[in-house]
Subunit: 477 residues, 2 copies
């Protein structure tokens, strides 16, 4: 990862890529180290991740999932068991070859994903229909040896969760695949304020070893796609390769059906690239570690009434369940305001001695930068309402922008024209991967996902055969 | 790790080591994989760890610590910066030499601990006294290439937390070292019901690169010691090696002082080896993921009144904030009772149709296996009280047993005699590491810790010189 030396924020519309890198650095989300391709997730970045983990983990548990922890290393022979899987992952794993001073008899890869480990375990613990379904999840770090990396978006080390479930029937496994896709979709809409498109990946784009891959596709401010979570239906591929069988109620030995689903710290990248602006990070209130930053005007001293009041208000807000901090540094108010904006606190509460006389404070919305005068007595009533409004407005603005960059192409010419614009283009697709390849080669667009609830109603713009699916194409991170 | 094929529980007094291994396997805490030296932490084991993490993490945060995430790889040149540190760790790290198909220009070790990464970061972010103290913590997996491994006690992969803090003065850093030691001590006493001895490690036993290492020493049922958490005062060793400096209030450039402190999944091993018995695991109520297991007598069917009542009681207990499960399998009651004991649920609630007529249930304490008849109407009042009693009794029994295995040797002969008994032996120690070595060579005992609040009052039993410290010796895991 190239280090941004200059911590100034680049203008978002001037150079979106540099703007992004300047935000992650200036908001103190990440730092670089001499471990190339990896990053330090700093306190603010990690606190956002902790909030994501807490919400998702509790959703998973409500649905009956249990957490486990697998080894981080996979022996090469174990990785090799499922053919498509190893072909997909072996080129991008890190290999451990030595332990201490000794060369290992077999090299170990650092897990790029853990299907093989889960399957080895499942073979041991699944005997009967009584053992099914098994609904396991793991929070951990995985490694994929990427050539070019960008903080949160593409990194050699990734924090994520991987769910792995086993079911007695194909239908149950497919239901689970779609159920978890829905959990991701709801979470990203309701907490991260991301309007997302969900659907099935094409044969070409699916996970190595999966029968079907479903994806959550978010569109960034610049019109690029970010794949923001996937849910896979494996059928019985892996189970057969690993020899997993169970005795069913009818006393017959059967092969179980499997799913896996995962999402990563990449979601933090999506928050930044969807909501951020020229002043810095804008955090959706529901995922912001600190909802309110209080900035007392004047000196931080026990003689400053504004500071004393700030401390009172902080306690009041904490008691009302609202996370809050006071900026108690000796910087100037102007500097503090700018820093509060860079770090994306949803609400800035300013309080000066003149405000105190009038029994009011100023609330500044981070998303719109609008200033609102609020009676001091009303803050625990008004702030939760304002946080909800900010959350809704952020989603709606993102939705509006996203919708303004969704196009439909009904011919080769239209596709050619629309492919120059930022955003996603919907087409009727014949289902043939040669046409998919051509669209990538000619226009630089990759398939995003097949749209589930829309039927094809025209010709494929490439081969002119009847469309089988409606599908989105777009550029991607 | 050798796999225990026979899942039967060995008698604790027959063979403590085999008993331990049978418990971790039979209680479904861990499983083995083809990744040698690593383990799978299964749902019950991981849920215990999650409870440990939740309590400790909230204690750390109350004291102002923030979580971060460092890379899992450390370039060899970075590990090499602090001399004592690299000498201590290099022989036991795993080395990544290849990324995909390419040989790396510099090999990377999988972090055995992260002082070097934190220092590299601190050098960048510490400029002024205003930046201090920095109180960071990280939850992650580390790797140490152990030759012989045992689940939770000594494993190649270890889940842990590592706190790393930087301070303007030596005194502040020492205060922090002792403050965090106290957090560990209180946690282990109050939550894990472990009577622990705290004190300073000898020069020989301290952490590679530390000025002083403080330790939490627990004594297992068999009298062996388990080092169950350490807190290190680094002085300015690392800071100097990494060139970390800050501009102090007096406008002078100074070197900051550093601490680190960590504890691991090993604590789960300590719970098992302190409280477990011939029937299986015994979990202290405060850390048990599920406090009460309800076993309805008779068929699991909507026609069985005992089962219907069990479901009602479950809701009642959940509403009272008590975690609870019903065993809804079709196994026999006898099998269910035994399984509930193996898995260590603090209270088993049995309910049959005859109980229903009398409006009572039977509560069975896991720790004493005592049966208590309880009025159905009283369960949300009686169960929390009983859980507190169990917690206290478990601590007191462990304390009594531990104290019965603490000895004091005032001469070579006494030391020789007492070293044959299980437990710790206290001696007056001259402070010389040659005497420490001799005690290990002749009696197989290693120093545990220097006792802080007790003055030496006699001669060293080895060299007969004046004692400098009172110190414990013992065998260790």
């Amino acid at each position: 990862m190239a280090e941004i030396q200059n911590k100034e924020i680049i203008k978002r519309d001037d150079n979106f890529a540099d703007w992004y890198t300047s935000i992650v650095k200036k908001a103190d989300l990440v730092d670089y180290t001499s471990t190339k391709g990896s990053m330090i997730i700093r306190p603010l970045g990690y606190a956002i991740w902790e909030n994501i983990v807490n919400v998702l983990d509790s959703e998973f548990k409500k649905l009956g999932h249990e957490n486990v922890q697998m080894p981080m290393f996979i022996p090469e022979s174990l990785l090799n068991i499922e053919k498509e899987h190893v072909e997909g992952f072996a080129p991008e794993v890190a290999w451990v070859t030595h332990g201490g001073k000794e060369k290992l008899p077999e090299r170990l890869c650092v897990r790029p994903t853990s299907e093989t480990l889960f399957c080895e375990h499942y073979k041991k613990i699944i005997k009967s229909y009584r053992d099914l379904p098994i609904l396991y999840n793991q929070w951990c770090t995985i490694v994929r040896w990427e050539k070019t990396t960008r903080p949160f978006l593409r990194s050699r080390e990734i924090l994520w969760q991987e769910g792995h479930t086993m079911h007695a029937t194909s239908k149950e496994a497919m239901d689970e695949t779609l159920r978890m896709l829905k959990v991701y979709e709801d979470f990203q809409k309701n907490y991260l304020a991301l309007p997302v498109i969900v659907g099935e990946k094409t044969e070409k784009e699916k996970f190595a070893g999966a029968d079907k891959t479903y994806t959550i596709e978010a569109m960034m401010y610049d019109g690029y796609a970010l794949q923001n979570g996937t849910s896979h239906y494996f059928g019985d591929h892996f189970a057969k390769a690993f020899g997993i069988e169970f005795l069913d109620k009818d006393n017959k030995l059967k092969t179980p059906y499997q799913t896996s689903w995962g999402c990563t710290t990449r979601m933090i990248g999506a928050i930044i690239m969807t909501h951020g602006d020229d002043q810095g990070l804008v955090l959706p209130p529901k995922i912001a570690p600190t909802k309110v930053i209080i900035i007392p005007i004047g000196k931080i001293s026990e003689e400053n009434k504004a500071y004393l009041k700030a401390k009172e208000l902080k306690e009041e807000l904490l008691n009302a369940g609202i996370t809050v901090k006071i900026d108690e540094t000796d910087k100037t108010p102007g500097y503090k305001f700018a820093e509060a904006e860079v770090k994306g606190f949803p609400i800035r509460l300013e309080i000066g001695n003149r405000d105190l006389e009038n029994n009011v404070v100023t609330l500044v919305r981070r998303d719109t930068r609008e200033k609102i005068t609020c009676k001091i007595d009303d803050i625990t009533k008004e702030i939760p309402k304002l946080l909800d409004t900010i959350q809704d407005d952020m989603y709606n603005r993102a939705l509006e922008r996203r919708n303004s960059m969704l196009y439909e192409a009904n011919s080769y010419e239209e596709l050619s024209e629309l492919s120059k614009k930022p955003g996603f283009v919907k087409i009727n697709w014949c289902g043939n991967s040669e046409c998919e390849d051509k669209i990538r080669e000619e226009f630089g667009l990759k398939s995003r996902c097949i749209i589930e609830d829309e039927k094809a109603d025209g010709k494929c713009p490439i081969c002119n055969k009847d469309g089988k699916h409606k599908i989105y194409f777009g550029r991607q991170y």
